[in-house]
Every structure is written in C-alpha cells, then in structure tokens.
C-alpha cells in the first residue's frame, strides 16, 4: 500500500474542523505516519499541489473561493467535505437568509463595497464530493474513519439513521420529556448524539437523513405544544441552505 497524499484545505469556516483533526491526540502520530500530509495550513508550512485526497473544510462564500475549490476539484482524486460548512453550508448560510446587501450594510456600513462576498454554498455545489464527515464540528473519530477507509479502499460507514438511535444506545432521557426541542429524529447520526448526551436538543448540524418523516416531526411538536417556527429557528442554524421538501 503506498501512502496516499492528503491535503487539508480551509474555506469559510471557523477552523474547528481542522482543529478536530489536531485534537486526535493519541491517534495523531499514527495519522501522520499512515498518510502523507502534503498540505495543511493550520499545522504545516510546506505545501504542495500534488495530492490524492483533499479534505475540505468551510463553505464557499467568495469569488476567489470558487476559483480555489474548482482547482482542488481538478487535482484531487477524492474529495471529502469535512464539517457542516462544507457539507451543508452550515451556519454561514444564515447570511443568505438576510440577503447579501443587507448583511454587508449591517456589518461594514458605507465601506461595504470593499468586501468580496457571494451567496454561501456548500462545496458540492462546485465540485463532486465523494464523502462527507458531517457535523459542527465533525466527530473526529469519523474523520479518522473516513481517512482509514480511504487508505483501505473501502466505503466509509456514515449512518443514514437518525440521531435518536445513538441517543438511545447511550441511554439518554429524551429531551422532549424534559421540555426541550430536538431535531434528533430527522438528523443524520454519527456524532454519538453529543447534544442529547449533554441534555441539549440536537440542532441538526449533521444535516437531514435521506427520508425524514417531516410530517411526523410536526405532529410531535404539536403534541409538545410547540410550533414549526420554533423548530425552524433551530433547523435554520445549520440547514438554511437546504430546504426540506414538505412531503
């Protein structure tokens, strides 16, 4: 097995995903020896344009970003989107909700013309994404799983079942019982139900499963005296770029 060359790239985001890679702690040294990291701004100075696998963090929000992601698309054999911003557009999409001009006005006032910004999009709007390690931040073990799978030549196992499954395996009390709302029933698992583990409702940072039962979710909300608006506020945090089809 020859070592795959890996590049880690950051677009608009908080750097948390790359940090989660550095947070691998016990496994970091194994990672460094299992692959050749040829490009990783957050950790190394050297860089190269010769890589097989691109791990991409962040969403595309500038014209310059579009050029860069397209270049990565030309070079990399496999592209892995890492984190909510890259996979679904994440929090950055909130900007779209306000409209570009209004957002620029609010932050930069009369100096707004100096700013290069376009509508926020996840990277798969520009390049073919092979795998996604979702979440904000992504589960670092899932990142390892994706990398390891790519080394071994297998398909990473990324669940398509809802967070409730993991939540129950962890023996949590459902937060609805505690009077909170939760997007767990329609959000893709893989985070080990981190938020419910901490007695907080899931905010849907990993995106929606393939076949969500949206109508049932509405019924549940009604049952607990809540409205769709309540949950949309949460839903929009990470999924403003995606519209749920109302089935």
């Amino acid at each position: 097995m020859s070592k795959p060359k890996v590049g880690v790239f950051g677009f608009t985001g908080c750097g948390g995903c790359q940090l989660e890679i550095l947070n691998l702690e016990d496994q970091l040294l194994d990672l460094v020896s299992a692959v050749d990291i040829v490009h990783f701004r957050e950790a190394i100075t050297e860089y190269s344009d010769d890589y097989d696998i691109a791990l991409v963090e962040g969403s595309v929000t500038t014209k310059h970003g579009v050029e860069r992601i397209e270049k990565i698309g030309d070079i990399a054999k496999i592209i892995v989107a890492v984190g909510a911003c890259a996979c679904t557009g994440g929090l950055n999409c909130l900007k779209n909700l306000y409209g570009l001009e209004k957002a620029k006005d609010l932050v930069y006032g009369d100096k707004k013309d100096w700013i290069d910004t376009i509508e926020t999009k996840p990277i798969d709007k520009y390049v073919k994404v092979d795998y996604m390690a979702r979440g904000c931040p992504p589960n670092r073990f899932e990142i390892v799983d994706v990398i390891r799978s790519l080394i071994l030549g297998r398909k990473p196992e990324i669940p398509n079942y809802p967070v409730c499954v993991e939540c129950k395996r962890n023996g949590n009390t459902c937060v609805y019982e505690l009077g909170m709302t939760c997007l767990g029933p329609i959000t893709r698992a893989g985070c080990d139900s981190r938020c419910p583990n901490s007695v907080s409702g899931c905010e849907g940072c990993r995106g929606i499963i393939d076949n969500p039962n949206v109508n049932a979710q509405k019924d549940v909300l009604e049952e607990y005296g809540l409205t769709v608006e309540d949950i949309m506020e949460n839903f929009n945090l990470y999924n403003a770029c995606k519209k749920i089809e109302q089935k």
Partner: protein, 434 residues
C-alpha cells in the same frame, strides 16, 4: 544585503490566504507596509439579528474553533447582562472559570509548541518536529489532551461546547469526573517542568517597542472570565462602558477592522494579561516566569509565547484549586442553571479569549430577539499594533538578508498568535527585488 525589495504574498487571490504581509522597501526606507486579512467576511453581526436569546452563543461559538469557549461566554455574558440576570451562583461561576482556563491552555499549547516552537528549532512545521524533537511533540500532545479532556468533560465537547448556555450548564460533570480532572491536572506537572527546561534554551529575539497593553483585570483572580477593562496606560473602566475607550474602524486593505484606545494602537493577549495582572498569578507561575526572564512590564512582543506558557502553569494551579473548592462544596444539579426570562435591553460581555480581549455587545427587543450586535475580536485589535511593530523592527534589521528579514517578520506576527490559520501559512511569501 537588500536595500530595495518588496515582500508580497504570491497571488493573493489564488493561494488561500487568511493573512498576509505587504512590505515594500526602497533604499532602506519603508514605502509601504500593510498587514492584511483577506479572510472571507462572515457577517456574524448580521446573522445574529432576529435570533432568539438562547442561540447567539451557539452561533458566535462558530466564529473561531480555537476560541469557541471565549465566544460562547462573551455571548452568554452579554445576554445575561441584557436580561438582567445577576444570580449566577458560585458553582456555575467556578465551572465557567474552569472551562475557560482550559480553552486557554488548549490554545496556548497549540501556539507555543506547534506554531512557535518549530521556528525556534528551525524546522518547517510541527510534523517535522515529530522527527527532530519527538519529546517536545509528546509533551505538547499530552498537555493538549489534558486541556481538551477538561473542556470535553465540562462543556460536552472539545470544540464548540454544548453544555454552556445562558443561565448556567445543561449538565454538570460527575463527582467521579471531577476527581478524574484533578488527576489529569496533577499529572501535567512533570511535562511543564520539562517544558521549562526546553524553553530556557530558546533564543528569543531582543526587540522592544513601548505600546499600550489592554486586558481585563480583577482584584482576586488572574482575570480570564470576568473583570474590568484595564490598560497599562493607567486607565480602568467597567466592562459595560467599553465604548468609552475602545474604537474601531474599517480599513481598506483588510476585512478585519482596526482598533485603537489611548494611542494609535494597542496590544491584547497573553502578554497584556501578564503585564496587567502579574500579581494574581499563582506563586508557581510567578516562579516559572522568573526563570524564563519574564517580568512586568515587558514590551517585547516575542515574549508573548513565554507569557502563554506561564499562563498554562497558572491555569493548572488555579484549576486544581477550583476543583478542590467545588468538591468540598459538593455539586448540586438543581443549581446547574438559573431561570432566564427574556426582556428588552442592552448588554455587553467582555472576556479574555486566549489571544486577547473579546467583546460582544447585544441589544434585545421585548421578545428576547437580537436587534443589534457588535463584536470586537482580539485578532482585529492587534492588527494596527502589528503594523507599528513591523514598522519599527524592519529598519532595525534592514541589513540582514531577505530571508532573515522575512523570517523575523513572520515570527513577530506569529508571536501575536493572530489565529492559527494566519500564523502558519502566512509564511509562503514571495520576495521580489525591485
């Protein structure tokens, strides 16, 4: 020897750049010096408008993965101030201070060992350090893991904590976890001692420029979570009144805004905290500072790395103290969170992020939705000061080779710890002789 040259990042628009330096020298005179941040603007101030009071802390946490705890708390404190919540109990406060310490440690470790150390050892990156100085890498990984685990236990995860919410915590650590944390902290001492020996051998550039240092300050604690805003220029104000002193402007060459207070620029971060709050450091931390030749007031920006290390020592000491107190008082799940009733009002939250003063300022409407938000982030505050330092330093070393000048500039900027992304990659600058 170069009398006339320009240093400019290659193809700013194509290579990803979070920060870069434009330096144009003609006949030993600086024609143009700009430190710029072409980072994609993220519009957090706009994103916050209209959000319900319990979401800003989750949103602003995503401004920066490395200072997510600091943003979370600047936000929470702003909201709590706006809602008039003044009954945050001791247990919550102590846990907040505890988690704060360890974000600071997480970040300082990363900065001292992974970003600055490779420079001092003359290797290209932390990955090269694995081969050249494995012992240093192992220490760093261990201390970092300790800090990460602390944040995980208290906050629910190492980046973007979950349990930290307006009013308190959604869940407390267990007694068993408290003991576990204490053990982890105690186990860190040998690594700190070994680090001290390594750090003593470093050759720290001798450059000083007198400037203003601003941080928060508290009579008892080495302030990270709470305090007044204090300056080495002799003023101290209540955090809610930050606008009386701190000013911001948009500059054309950068998406980061520039700030000033009593003079044209000021510095925030570990060294500012050290200079303002030396007295509140633990004895052990003072001892380490002395051995490393760091005394207040220190005007050498390169010493920021040393101040960061001294802070790690203090954080470990103070955390053990906090845990002992919490264990003595016993943890009470019923007091994990206080009630919050949304109301209209304005509130300011000021904390120390690892890289310096961080201010969130929110105005809420009657329904508890954000009407207006203003965020002042540490990296931005330092830009102006970085430019001033470079303006002074470059002429002093102008006779050295271009590579040496370049490296010195990079190291200086890195010493400020602007943010990890800019502090490493910034280095790929291209030199064009004119």
């Amino acid at each position: 020897m170069a009398n006339t040259f320009s240093i400019e990042e290659e193809n700013v628009s194509r290579v990803e750049g979070h920060g870069d330096l434009v330096l144009d020298v003609k006949n030993k005179k600086i024609e143009k010096l700009q430190f710029r941040i072409p980072e994609s603007p993220r519009f957090f101030e706009a994103m916050l408008v209209g959000r319900k009071w319990d979401t800003p802390s989750h949103i602003t946490s995503r401004i920066c993965g490395i200072c997510s705890v600091a943003h979370t708390y600047a936000s929470i404190k702003a909201t709590e101030a706006a809602m008039g919540i003044n009954n945050i109990n001791d247990q919550i406060l102590k846990l907040r201070k505890l988690i704060f310490h360890h974000e600071c440690v997480q970040s300082n470790v990363l900065h001292v060992y992974f970003l600055a150390a490779p420079d001092f050892f003359g290797v290209g990156s932390a990955i090269s350090l694995v081969d050249s100085h494995p012992e240093v890498v192992n220490i760093a990984l261990r201390v970092k893991k300790m800090a990460n685990d602390m944040v995980r236990i208290i906050g629910g995860r190492a980046v973007h904590p979950i349990r930290t919410v307006v009013g308190g915590f959604t869940k407390l650590p267990t007694i068993q976890e408290m003991h576990q944390m204490k053990e982890m902290l105690q186990a860190a001492y040998p690594d700190l001692e070994n680090s001290l020996e390594v750090l003593k051998t470093l050759d720290i550039p001798d450059f000083e420029r007198e400037t203003e240092y601003i941080s928060i300050s508290d009579p008892v604690d080495y302030a990270l979570y709470d305090g007044n805003i204090k300056s080495t220029d002799g003023w101290e104000i209540d955090d809610q009144d930050y606008l009386d002193k701190i000013n911001e402007k948009v500059v054309k060459h950068s998406t980061g805004k520039h700030s000033w207070a009593s003079r044209d620029a000021y510095l925030v971060g570990a060294l500012a905290r050290f200079n303002n709050n030396y007295d509140q450091l633990s004895d052990n931390a003072k001892q380490y500072a002395e051995e490393l030749g760091l005394k207040p007031l220190n005007y050498n920006p390169f010493m920021n790395n040393i101040a960061q290390f001294v802070e790690i020592v203090h954080s470990v000491d103070d955390s053990i103290k906090l845990i002992d107190e919490l264990l003595e008082e016993g943890l009470d799940e019923d007091k994990a969170i206080v009630d919050v009733k949304p109301k209209a009002g304005r509130g300011v939250g000021v904390v120390e992020a690892p890289r310096g003063l961080l201010i969130h300022d929110y105005t809420y409407d009657d329904e508890g939705k954000v009407e207006k938000a203003n965020l002042i982030i540490p990296t931005n505050q330092n830009y102006a000061n970085i430019e001033k330092d470079l303006e002074e330093m470059v002429p002093q070393i102008i006779d050295k080779s271009e590579d040496e000048i370049k490296l010195a500039c990079e190291m200086l900027i890195r010493a400020y710890d602007p943010c990890i992304s800019c502090s490493t990659h910034f280095l790929n600058v291209k030199l064009v002789n004119k």
